[in-house]
Symmetry: C3
Subunit: 134 residues, 3 copies
């Protein structure tokens, strides 16, 4: 069985992550799929997805701070839109995550949440959620 | 339903990406799978896969230029083949991508293409395409 | 068909990778699944998964050495547990891998193995293995 839906996200800053775990859990609970895999994919090239800690918000601040120092905006970049740093950060973090589904719920560790990673906001963004299973 | 195939790629430089979206679309259209997930996986350890912008080729130039400055060839590397930078870049970018399939086609954003990322060419390379769905 | 299991891993150092290919192959051979996809996912936020070279152990040494220089522990990090470097490294390498399954076995390249990547050990760790296929 395959079920697909979309989630809309309005980001508020150039760089931020947004916890979308709750939205995905709701989609799974209404899908009729008990066990399988959940793919969450960014439809953009300057925003990605990751799984990371949900307890201390400083983890997210450190993550974006470090990424901005590793891959800063540089005058040397040739891309005319001036946001090559965002494209590179999205490619390094990854454009999708895959999380197991067990007993009609995401199978995540205690401290794990699924984060949409904005690297060139603020913008209106969309991610697709594809569930495959039985 | 599961369908698997391979794509052969001949790269021409040490570092480059190759847009393989069209090849994957053709495989999907002939597969009989309408909705599901498409996994594209590198069979190598010095070449990966990503999804990124297909409009301005400068995005790819900036991507490889920046990666080569973040992870240059270094005399300190111990690996006897001298290409540890390629292994590290492949691990950071990732060895596979997963893209949703909807209505017998890849579900990609307007500016997204699937790129094979060569980090130690030129070589003959292979990727596998695995479709799961209904 | 969907089959899920867990693998326990005891890591011995702060940073190391552990080849879990053999454990995953055994799970696949007992699953009854012939063709499909194998998802291997970390249940932690300071440990990830990758596919990399299994021939020369120096590749792993270079990989962790370089990552520790790219993302060192820094006094500037705010996260109270002091391991933001581990969270960032896990996010860059990725929290899961997806490998095709063909003829009741992993479809890997000649030099590829699946590695659990510890970035904040030593610890007891768990990964989930989810097989989807027919």
């Amino acid at each position: 069985m395959v079920k697909q839906s979309q989630i809309s996200i309005n980001t508020e800053r150039r760089s931020q992550w947004v916890d979308i775990t709750h939205d995905i859990r709701r989609i799974i609970s209404q899908s009729g799929i008990k066990n399988g895999i959940c793919n969450v994919a960014s439809l953009h090239t300057t925003a990605g997805l990751t799984v990371n800690e949900n307890a201390d918000p400083d983890v997210g601040l450190d993550f974006f701070d470090k990424l901005s120092r590793l891959v800063p905006r540089e005058p040397a970049f040739r891309h005319m839109e001036g946001n090559s740093d965002s494209h590179i950060k999205a490619a390094l973090v990854g454009l999708s995550v895959q999380v197991p589904v067990t007993d009609c719920d995401l199978l995540l560790g205690t401290w794990q949440s699924i984060y949409f990673c904005e690297f060139d906001g603020p913008r209106e963004r969309s991610v697709t959620v594809t569930l495959i299973g039985e």
